[in-house]
Symmetry: C2
Subunit: 317 residues, 2 copies
């Protein structure tokens, strides 16, 4: 009866995306505590740290320390982000999973702010990382387009521009001799709407029907879960999310930089609609409360205040 996927996978981005925007320092032990609690909720993928320039993102200066301290639970993939060859080398030297991804930024201005170089230069520079990944035997199978739905510096980005960016990523994959199975569309600046999700995914599918689309959405303007729902309707089965709604990109030029869609709110919506997430909602709510106590200010998650339906269902059935 439903036109939604039967089961989806949520990748937790809170520890990585979330803590990078915090104004005050977060103790490495607190980061580890949250990561370990998240691993008990049924999450199978947790993005833990970014190996980026500590002068640009001071809160990630402890990446090595955090990565080393996590007691890894079998069956959970703890991952690290890197944006260039230097970061990749740090990631490879550490104990976390290194994702075999390659991608492109949609907006040139955002590329210069976020990566410190033009879209073209970043593509060329990426070849070094790809060579290193291949050399170390990391399978490269995931592509991405960053900021695919719009840009706080450049405004709208046409569907034609994004299709061109996807074509570039696929051409680079061909040059590297790898096959990309998935393509992640990210929206750090929170421009996506249900309509643009439907339109862009539809256009990409038309040209590349075998590419599985995944979504990394931010709830900057309140439309995050509506856009994620539109993604579900388009058959998307992999989403990034952030516990409590932690986070935001420090270079997105948004005064109130907002985090990813909230893990427990999104998981709640999915489960209520019969879309399985494999997650323990009440355990996730506890993690959101832990995250809130760690950062010391309210997080935007709703279910942690509004409550799940577990208690009322237990009482009325």
């Amino acid at each position: 009866m439903s036109d939604l996927p039967k089961r989806i996978v949520i990748e937790e981005e809170g520890p990585r995306e979330g803590f990078q925007i915090e104004p005050g320092p977060v103790a490495p032990a607190d980061k580890v505590r949250l990561i370990e609690a998240l691993a008990e909720t049924g999450l199978e993928r947790i993005a833990c740290v970014s190996y980026v320039n500590p002068r640009r993102v001071p809160s990630m200066a402890d990446a090595e320390q955090v990565a080393a301290a996590i007691r890894q639970k079998p069956g959970v993939r703890y991952s690290a982000l890197f944006l260039n060859r230097q970061g990749l080398e740090r990631a490879m030297a550490g104990p976390l999973s290194v994702a075999g991804t390659m991608g492109i930024t949609a907006s040139d201005t955002f590329a210069r702010k976020n990566l410190g170089k033009s879209v073209e230069d970043a593509v060329v520079e990426q070849r070094g990382s790809i060579a290193l990944l291949k050399e170390r035997g990391v399978k490269i199978d995931a592509g991405y387009v960053m900021g695919a739905f719009g840009c706080n510096y450049e405004g709208e980005l046409s569907t034609a521009t994004i299709l061109q960016r996807v074509a570039t990523v696929l051409a680079e994959a061909e040059i590297a001799g790898v096959t990309l199975n998935t393509l992640k569309l990210t929206d750090a600046m929170g421009w996506a709407t249900p309509a643009s999700i439907q339109r862009l995914i539809g256009s990409i599918r038309e040209k590349w029907p075998d590419l599985e689309i995944t979504l990394h959405l931010h709830d900057t303007r309140g439309t995050g879960l509506a856009s994620a729902y539109a993604g579900l309707r388009m058959g998307v089965r992999k989403f990034d999310a952030s516990v409590g709604g932690l986070g935001g990109c420090p270079f997105a030029a948004t005064k109130g930089a907002a985090g990813n869609i909230c893990t427990e709110d999104f998981a709640f919506m999915c489960e209520e609609m019969g879309v399985e997430t494999g997650l323990d909602l009440d355990a996730l709510v506890e993690c959101a409360r832990l995250a809130e106590s760690i950062v010391g200010h309210p997080l935007p998650g709703h279910v942690m205040r509004g409550g799940t339906h577990t208690a009322v269902r237990a009482a009325t059935r």
Copy 2:
């Protein structure tokens, strides 16, 4: 190309729904200031006060004073809520618009908490209000079902139960000799999901295809805009919303009682998708900031922090 309505109407509920939950007192002059600012944003309907028992809702004790002080702008309908004959008599004695509505509560437990009586007793008692409305020449054309998507006390409510409630409202309309053109589904306890919106509206339409469905959604669990989007896809063209996300129902048994979907976030999403609202987004954001300064704590609205796209579009076009 789009399957969404070309134009919708948003009724502002912030002053009425919003202020009733505030723990501290809100000065009548501040309420009036917000109402008058909202009237400058393009909103054509603003719910201003509730004529309810001041012992149960102390923040509405000033309803008469607020209603009298509003400088009404032509073309804007300033309305008042009433829940029983006594409230209706107060509303009729005042300068605000009295809506000709009749309805029912879905859950018996919620009816007892919210109205102080059973569903059946409330239906019978409502006949007095209907008689008075008719006597005074107020056209009764709008029905409603309160708490149509689930109950924090009773849990799920079956579609069959809700269809039965709708049938009762329509039977009462027939007894009263009036025709209901619209049926508002309200969700003060925040149980709606995109899937239940689609399912319930679909079921009601099947039985009563000529009844226009309108939605009053709360964002208790973060699914508000996703559910509103599902409503848009079902062709719903009238929505209640609350500036800044102000408010919440004091009797909904939600610890963090959440307000209606946020007016400016919803209007932003609609406009971005090409659904006209007739509203000035930046003026609405200013109203949300005013509401925040009046209540003295952060409100949940996103666009007032994330920003509209007005400036970047002006800069890049």
